[in-house]
């Protein structure tokens, strides 16, 4: 398949992520805002983990720490046992907004990671491959303002995948899309994860999305976030939304979150 790792020397397409005793707070000037409180989490290589919790609880902060955009106030975040101190294209973050660079075409956006690292010459052929994977062939020369929300998010995913990330950090990537587009993209993401074999950490507040995609669902409390529950989803893919086992899990998770299953 197109994402085969013929070019990388590293035999492992994924990394283990370790979060040990991590607490984090933001300095708001007049006070400190604690967002994470004593998080311990171990993600094995190639695992798909969903972080579920109320909005604004600090899940996104955990992704920023894993991406290396910020350092935790206390505790350590490690990749394969080494502390993470800075951003690295091995660990790529996809945001809720596609955040495409509006002055670059679709091709330019996807190429930006390779270009920033001086790999455009040797790896440029991968741009076409990943665009094909996210079903955007023929849109190479389009500018972001010409794309729909779903297409823009596909470009953002392609922009991440072209760098062969070993850890893909997804911060509610489908949160702003209409439900049909969301269903399609969930399916595509799962496909890409299976083919490329990276480790995936997905932040979401959508219980169903977490259950459909993840091997393991971690439930966070309100801010400052603590881990309050952990659910393994054993069901093999493809999963059905109306699967009895998943519906039972869904009920259980919603209760943990303090929401009633019934409307």
């Amino acid at each position: 398949m197109a994402l085969a790792h013929e070019t990388t020397g590293n035999p492992s397409p994924a990394i283990a992520l370790g979060v040990e005793g991590v607490s984090h707070r933001y300095d708001l000037g007049d006070r400190l805002l604690p967002v994470l409180d004593g998080i311990d989490l171990h993600v094995t290589p190639g695992e798909f983990v969903a972080l579920l919790g109320p909005s604004g609880c600090g899940k996104s902060t955990l992704l920023r720490l894993a991406a290396g955009l910020e350092a935790p106030t206390r505790g350590t975040v490690t990749e394969d046992g080494t502390p993470i101190t800075r951003p690295d294209p091995d660990r790529i973050l996809v945001f809720q907004e596609a955040t495409l660079f509006p002055w670059l075409t679709v091709r330019g956006n996807v190429a930006s990671g390779l270009e920033a690292r001086g790999l455009l010459k040797s790896q440029g052929h991968r741009i076409g491959e990943v665009l094909k994977l996210v079903k955007l062939e023929g849109f190479e020369e389009a500018y972001p303002h010409q794309l729909s929300g779903g297409m823009a998010q596909r470009v953002a995913i392609a922009r991440a995948l072209v760098n062969d990330p070993k850890l893909l950090l997804l911060d509610e990537p489908f949160g702003k899309l209409d439900s049909l587009t969301r269903l399609n993209l969930q399916k595509e993401l799962l496909q890409l994860w299976k083919e490329a074999g990276f480790t995936a950490l997905l932040v979401t507040h959508d219980v169903e999305e977490a259950l459909l995609l993840a091997d393991r669902v971690i439930v966070f409390s309100d801010r400052p976030a603590r881990i309050v529950a952990e659910v393994k989803v054993e069901k093999p893919h493809p999963r059905r939304r109306d699967d009895a086992e998943l519906i039972a899990l869904r009920r259980q998770l919603l209760e943990t979150l303090g929401v009633s299953h019934d409307v």
Binding site: R64, A67, G68, L69, P87, D88, P89, R91, I92, L93, F95, E97, T99, F101, P102, W103, L104, T105, S112, G113, E115, A116, R117, Y143, P144, H145, R159, N163
Partner: protein, 332 residues
């Protein structure tokens, strides 16, 4: 902000498709207006002699003949000349303007004499003084180009530094805000002291006028760049250099262009002041010299030349902006 700057030269023509009539009506009306202006100019006597009256009448008559021909042939062309049709109402207005201008100045003398000049007065200036005007244009072009381009180059670099670096901004921003509103003429005493020649001082004044808005707007643009772009680029492996050159600068380009437009206008406004400093030639000098001698026809003639050059440069800048900022939504 950017929308307000965009031009829509074809929107009118596009909205009102030309009916397939046998004649271009605006052309016919323009021909009539120009014809009347030509007849007034030729047939009525001037209050005093201005020179070039007959020549002006002839030129306007040629214009009238052209519009008459256009009125007949335009509907028969396979591809309609969009620009010509778009400006049809303007041609009519210009014809009427010529006629009124003739009447109020040369023919009836309603407008007092040295201050107002009829069109043939300006034409007379172009005919008799064209060589001096041309030299002045060349001198001004040299001064303007040296001042404007060095000004926007320094302004742009300073703006990026001010917007990017906290330390630069701490020291630079207050200084920029202080010197920004100071009028160019107030700099004259110190420029005399600092610069080896008055020519250098003049270049400095033009550079200052064009550089300051570019610096302020570039700085604001770089500061306003969506932080998320930096986060994305960093996780993709971008260096600081990449963040500045490939993220901060392109993202702030719309602001930079607003600064360039402002700088262009200010640089023209300051030319007259800059050419007060011992210049021997130049349009600004020409304006002052002729104002001093109450040769207002010469003043108007030079002003028109200056306005046309400025308009041409604005047009060029628009073209450049539309090319560089094609990625912006709805700009073209």
């Amino acid at each position: 902000m950017s929308d307000a700057l965009s031009e829509h030269p074809h929107s009118l023509a596009g909205a009102l498709p030309l009916a397939r009539s046998a004649i271009w009506k605006d052309g016919l009306l323009a021909a009539a207006a120009w014809g009347v202006a030509a007849v007034i100019t030729y047939a009525l006597p001037d209050v005093i002699s201005w020179g070039a009256t007959d020549l002006f009448a002839l030129l306007v008559a040629i214009g009238a003949a052209f519009f008459l021909a256009a009125a007949v042939f335009v509907p028969r062309l396979s591809r309609e000349p969009k620009t010509l049709i778009h400006y049809g109402p303007w041609y009519i207005a210009i014809g009427i303007w010529f006629a009124l201008w003739e009447l109020t100045t040369a023919k009836l003398g309603w407008l007092p004499k040295p201050f107002f000049s009829p069109p043939q007065g300006l034409l007379h200036v172009y005919i008799t003084d064209w060589s001096r005007l041309l030299i002045c244009v060349a001198y001004t072009a040299r001064l303007w180009a040296l001042g404007f381009f060095s000004g926007i180059a320094v302004g742009f670099v300073a703006g990026v530094a001010l917007g990017w670096s906290k330390r630069f901004s701490y020291w630079g921003m207050p200084v920029l805000k202080l010197i920004g509103p100071v009028p160019a003429s107030a700099w004259i005493p110190c420029t005399f002291f600092i610069f080896p020649s008055t020519f250098h001082a003049s270049i400095f004044l033009v550079a200052l006028a064009s550089g300051i808005p570019v610096a302020i707007l570039t700085a604001a643009g770089v500061e306003q760049v969506n932080r998320a772009y930096y986060d994305v680029a960093k996780t993709l492996g971008a260096s600081n250099r990449y963040l500045i050159y490939r993220i901060a600068i392109p993202a702030s380009l719309p602001n930079v262009f607003v600064g360039l437009f402002m700088g262009l206008y200010y640089s023209f406004a300051v030319l007259v002041v800059a050419e007060m400093l011992g210049a021997k030639f130049g349009l600004g000098w020409y304006l002052q010299f002729n104002t001093a001698y109450s040769a207002y026809a010469n003043v108007y003639a030079a002003l028109i030349v200056m306005a046309l050059i400025c308009a041409g440069l604005v047009r060029l800048l628009f073209t450049l902006r539309n090319r560089l900022l094609a990625w912006q939504k709805g700009i073209i």
